[in-house]
């Protein structure tokens, strides 16, 4: 599994973990994020069962198990959090922040030790060491209970499935040319995202944030002007295409 640093300051570090070359071709590639600050760390969307071993081996290169105090699940999907039953054994003292809507569902992945901290629909805020992270509502994009994570200091928005791209092989970590990247995103957004109203609501909320990096859970990361290009493109996109 590849690890890249996407932000580093005196207070905290953002790492993206993904592009696991040993991963089966039958499962979708995912980006996991680790934020480390002083003696604490959080894993954002820790991933599926299949990725637990490479994830554990990779994060231990950067933090100790004791430092990983917190997990975040943007929504309930298996590629987001089906590894929970295994993390529950590795990190019995940890707290999982996830949408309140999905608590009874996510617990099906097996959770005897970890504490579930439900996130209200309006979102919330947590501190990881010296870093402050905001849970930004992204309901119906695509899940009915869904959050992004915004770091105002690093100006990073972990956008979950928004901005996701389905690209084969091991593509580079960052979007280099927006126009040529659209083909990997379009169907995903049109088919997985159900509501134009929810999409527009999210865009107007996110436009108010100061964002340098938009980091989705699949595919390449958007940096600098690519973020605004994405928002423009997304605002024009008609989603919910399976509805006839």
């Amino acid at each position: 599994m590849k690890t890249s640093e996407i932000y580093n300051s005196a207070t905290h570090v953002w790492l993206v973990l993904g592009r696991d070359s040993n991963k089966s071709n039958h499962i979708i590639d995912t980006n996991q994020y680790l934020i480390k600050s002083t003696d604490e760390a959080i894993i954002l969307d820790p991933g599926g069962i299949e990725l637990f071993s490479p994830m554990l081996a990779s994060i231990l290169k950067h933090v100790t198990l004791e430092q990983v105090t917190t997990l975040f699940a943007s929504h309930q999907d298996p590629d987001i959090i089906s590894s929970l039953g295994l993390w529950d054994k590795a990190l019995p003292q940890a707290t999982l922040h996830a949408p309140w809507l999905w608590e009874g569902f996510i617990r099906h992945f097996g959770m005897d030790n970890i504490t579930y901290q439900p996130i209200k629909d309006e979102g919330g805020e947590i501190k990881i060491g010296k870093a402050t992270l905001r849970f930004v509502p992204a309901h119906y994009l695509h899940s009915s209970g869904n959050f992004n994570v915004y770091d105002p200091k690093a100006r990073i928005l972990m956008s979950g499935d928004i901005g996701a791209a389905l690209e084969k092989g091991e593509p580079p970590m960052f979007v280099e040319d927006f126009a040529s990247h659209v083909k990997y995103m379009e169907y995903f957004h049109r088919r997985w995202m159900p509501s134009n109203r929810a999409k527009n609501d999210w865009i107007s909320r996110v436009r108010e944030l100061d964002i340098d990096i938009m980091a989705p859970q699949h595919g390449r990361i958007f940096k600098g002007e690519m973020v605004q290009e994405f928002l423009e493109w997304f605002s024009r996109l008609d989603v919910g295409c399976a509805y006839k």
Partner: protein, 205 residues
């Protein structure tokens, strides 16, 4: 046995537990039917009067062993939910162990070997719990088996008594047949479960 095999074995054991629990239903249904049959037989014997005099104590016996079988089966049902959760814990521990072993192939971090030691201990502890519950379960099944031996004996005796009950002979004969059939079904379910327990015990060694 490789770690992958161990994880697959844990799942197979879980399926064995599921088979045991599924067979409990058969035992409980048949035991309840036996209890109903005893009540019906008592009414027939009352109607038959003196000609079925010998049948009355038999209905009491049927009542007794069917009640006891129901009671034991209910105790087993309570134990089986415990058995399920322990078997599930074994599956989860084995799964976690397997993932840690994969992880150890690409990392020599001490935290991983520490987790490996911890999960090995937890797995051993959980397997011991499973063995202990299985021993209880086995003794309960053996108790029911004894009851079914009595049931078979009573079925033979009741057949003799039924033949002396004149016009009620046929009704009482059918009671005897039913006892024989139910005891046979319960014994078969118990035998299946004892076989599963033996295999489960063998797999845990």
């Amino acid at each position: 046995m490789t770690r992958n095999d161990e994880a697959a074995q844990a799942v197979r054991n879980f399926v064995r537990v599921a088979n045991i629990v599924a067979n409990l239903d058969t035992i409980l249904i048949e035991a309840k039917n036996l209890s109903l049959t005893a009540k019906n037989a008592r009414v027939v014997a009352l109607r038959a009067g003196d000609s079925a005099f010998g049948f009355k104590p038999i209905t009491n016996f049927i009542d007794e062993f069917s009640d006891l079988t129901i009671k034991i089966t209910k105790q087993i049902s309570q134990l089986s939910s415990q058995l399920f959760s322990i078997a599930l814990a074994v599956v989860r521990c084995s799964d976690f162990q397997q993932h840690l072993n994969n992880c150890a192939k690409s990392s020599d971090n001490k935290a991983i070997s520490h987790l490996q030691r911890e999960v090995n201990l937890e797995l051993m502890k959980t397997i011991k719990q499973l063995e202990s519950v299985i021993t209880y379960l086995e003794s309960y099944f053996e108790d029911i088996q004894k009851q079914m031996r009595s049931a078979e004996y009573i079925a033979v005796t009741s057949r003799v008594e039924a033949s002396n009950a004149g016009e009620f002979s046929e009704s009482l004969q059918s009671v005897s047949d039913f006892i024989t059939g139910a005891a046979k079904k319960i014994k078969s379910a118990i035998n299946d479960n004892l076989k599963e327990i033996n295999q489960l015990r063998g797999a845990l060694r």
